[in-house]
């Protein structure tokens, strides 16, 4: 609103209507990447490492999008890691034992059935926790702290602790790796489609503003915003395509397909990994739910003022229960990614993920006081957390020290949020 500002940086921010917190996060991410890049003599910034980083981020990113809604309603979910564990075991047993006994191995629909069974299980778990929180009035902190133990125990109980492996071969695509990547051409096409969607969204925004005679953004600002986004997408595509399959796998693939291998060896690019695409689609769907649906509006209204939402006629209990159902389904999707990547389901899967997920949401600008949060921010937050962790692994820092850093970062993020809110309200 403040156009009269003389500071050019402020004018730029106002004209582009940029989200300062998200910009700040991108800056933090850039610093982490450059920092690790320097310390590791560039090893951190290779296409290979960044590609792996993107795959490792997916599972936490998927759950973080749901954690945004949970925290926005002034609740918390400490059980997501354990829910990932138990749904992962259910997904594993379904595809490795139940369906093969019925339809045989590698049936074309096995992966889908296993995924759906997992999502239903996640929804039921979320519904149980949500019901106890919303209708029985037990604080979410306690319910999901109980869930942290209960569902981890349940994960063990599915197979009495036995690890389930291997996964269905189609299902494994969800985990990434050479077979779980879409290749060069598809990557360029996906990038092009996303760029077109960005342009369409900008044009539609202008159209709607003109239709209702709201003030328009300056044209140069639209161009700037559009180019920054598209540049980011094309950059990601270039990076993913710059990471070739390991030469031995390419060799075997060429022999199997009867493709002649050139002298320098066959170069096949990975392109975007499937789990990354899953996380991006989940992010888009969750952004849509949060910003364009009534349910999403109610989630934010409850976070802003639960009493007001109730008085406005919002069925606040139902909305809160549904938020936990969504969280459960997302934990199951994350479980699919992580079991597919590991090619096994273990009862320890997802341990400590709740910390990463909550940290991702909070770093991504979700306020623990409720009512404020962005799905895109949480995905960026997940990338920040994973960058820290991967970087520390690359530098050779031991796991206990990594955990200490993650713990401290979580506390720091909440502290920064507290400062930020104090300043913006005072």
């Amino acid at each position: 609103m403040v156009d009269s500002s003389t500071n050019p940086a402020k004018r730029l921010l106002a004209a582009t209507e940029a989200d300062v917190r998200i910009l700040g996060m991108v800056a933090v991410l850039a610093m982490i990447w450059l920092g690790f890049g320097l310390v590791t003599d560039g090893a951190f910034l290779t296409p290979r490492n960044l590609w792996n980083l993107s795959v490792q981020t997916s599972s936490v990113a998927v759950m973080a999008t749901g954690m945004v809604l949970v925290i926005v309603t002034r609740n918390i979910d400490l059980s997501v890691g354990s829910v990932l564990g138990v749904t992962g075991m259910i997904i594993g047993v379904t595809q490795a034992e139940l369906i093969p006994a019925w339809l045989g191995y590698d049936h074309p629909t096995t992966w889908l059935m296993a995924l759906l069974v997992g999502m239903v299980a996640g929804a039921i778990i979320g519904a149980i926790q949500g019901y106890v929180i919303a209708y029985m009035g037990v604080p979410a902190f306690i319910v999901t702290l109980g869930g942290l133990l209960t569902w981890r125990g349940a994960a063990w109980w599915v197979t009495s602790g036995r690890t389930v492996a291997p996964m269905d071969s189609t299902f494994q695509i969800m985990g990434g790796g050479p077979a779980g990547s879409v290749g060069e051409l598809a990557t360029w096409m996906i990038a092009a489609v996303i760029c077109l969607m960005i342009i369409a969204a900008i044009l539609r925004g202008r159209h709607l503003r003109r239709l209702h005679q709201f003030p328009l953004r300056p044209v140069w600002a639209e161009w700037l915003v559009g180019s920054v986004y598209c540049f980011g997408v094309i950059g990601a595509a270039t990076l993913a395509n710059a990471y070739p399959w390991p030469s031995r796998i390419a060799q075997r693939y060429a022999e199997a397909q009867g493709i002649p291998v050139p002298d320098g060896g066959l170069v096949i690019a990975h392109g975007f990994a499937v789990p990354v695409l899953i996380a991006i689609v989940v992010g888009m769907v969750m952004t849509f739910i949060a910003t364009r649906t009534r349910f999403g509006r109610y989630v934010f209204a409850i976070g802003g003022n639960p009493e007001a939402a109730e008085l406005a006629g919002v069925n606040t209990r139902r909305v809160i229960m549904l938020v936990f159902v969504v969280m459960g389904v997302l934990a199951a999707i994350a479980a699919s990614i992580s079991t597919a990547r590991l090619n096994a389901a273990t009862n320890a899967q997802g341990t400590l993920d709740e910390l990463y997920v909550i940290a991702a949401a909070v770093i991504g600008g979700t306020s623990l006081a409720g009512g404020v949060g962005k799905v895109a921010g949480a995905i960026l937050g997940a990338l920040v957390m994973q960058s820290l962790q991967s970087g520390m692994v690359l530098v050779g820092i031991d796991t206990p020290l990594q955990n200490m850093v993650v713990g401290v970062v979580l506390v720091l993020a909440v502290w920064v949020d507290t400062l930020y809110r104090k300043r913006s309200s005072g």
Binding site: M1, T293, R297, F300, A301, A309, L311, A312, G371
Partner: protein, 272 residues
């Protein structure tokens, strides 16, 4: 008042208790179309609690509500709104993190063909209503948290007016307003009254409501002291009702009225 047709709202023998605290105790009040009933009483007298039963926020433990002569049950705010009852709460009941349009339409969002939120249409409608109510209002994109008290109040008022209320409850609507805006609200009340809307106007301050009301009902310690036609009583009479619970001539006494004979002895002791 034409008493010939049945009242718009008829609340009989309403009671509600919080723990052992009888916040509303056997209160009966009514409201006719095009009438303004001022509901008066000290802070804590039970005014807000009484009207929150009508707006669906609280469930009464005893009593009966009739709308247009028909007994109704109002179990939640949605049902009250469906009956044409709109409320401006004393606390305003705004979601501070949302903008004006989102608050205006909260619970009744305009949606597109695809069932998604039509934010542009809602903002456009919001600009129109606010344009009439508060022409200086420009901050449509900002969360209402960042607005002034008066601006927030006008958002709450806009929300009650937009949906064509038949029964309007205004709980201390001018609490956050300056003199100029208070005068605007007074004009608005007169206008709404002329359209046949029934209004409960609640205040702890007699000066806010006396000139605007057709009748006043006074509450004290959760009980109804009495109901009077404004033309039959003076401000001092009503002050006596509020402070002492003393009903003068021309007032229909309620269960909370002090017995007339004992006023002299009990009156001063009852003072806070």
């Amino acid at each position: 008042m034409t008493q010939s047709h049945s009242p718009l709202v008829d609340m009989r023998n309403m009671s509600i208790a919080f723990g052992g605290n009888k916040a509303v105790n056997d209160v009966s009040i009514d409201l006719y179309p095009g009438e303004v009933v001022g509901l008066l009483g000290h802070n804590g007298a039970g005014k807000s609690t009484l009207i929150k039963i009508l707006s669906g926020a609280y469930r009464m433990s005893r009593g009966e509500i009739r709308i247009d002569g028909q007994p109704v049950s109002i179990d939640n705010p949605r049902e009250a709104k469906a009956l044409g009852i709109e409320t401006i709460y004393q606390t305003l009941a705004l979601a501070d993190n949302l903008d004006a349009a989102s608050n205006l339409f909260l619970g009744r969002e305009i949606r597109t063909r695809w069932n998604t939120l039509d934010d542009a249409a809602m903002e456009s409608a919001c600009r129109q209503v606010m344009g009439r109510l508060n022409p200086n209002f420009k901050r449509f994109k900002d969360p209402v948290k960042s607005l002034s008290g008066g601006q927030r109040q006008s958002v709450a008022i806009a929300r009650a007016l937009y949906f064509n209320a038949r029964i309007l409850i205004m709980d201390e609507p001018t609490a956050a307003l300056g003199p100029e805006e208070t005068a605007q609200v007074a004009e608005l009340i007169k206008h709404l009254k002329s359209e046949g809307i029934g209004i409960f106007l609640i205040s702890h301050d007699i000066h806010d409501v006396f000139d605007l009301s057709d009748r006043v009902s006074v509450m004290k310690n959760g009980q109804l002291v009495g109901t009077a036609e404004v033309s039959q009583v003076t401000k001092d009479d009503v002050l006596g009702m509020i402070i002492l619970g003393k009903c003068p001539e021309g007032v229909v006494p309620g269960p909370g009225a002090s017995p007339t004979e004992n006023t002299l002895e009990e009156g001063p002791l009852a003072m806070p």
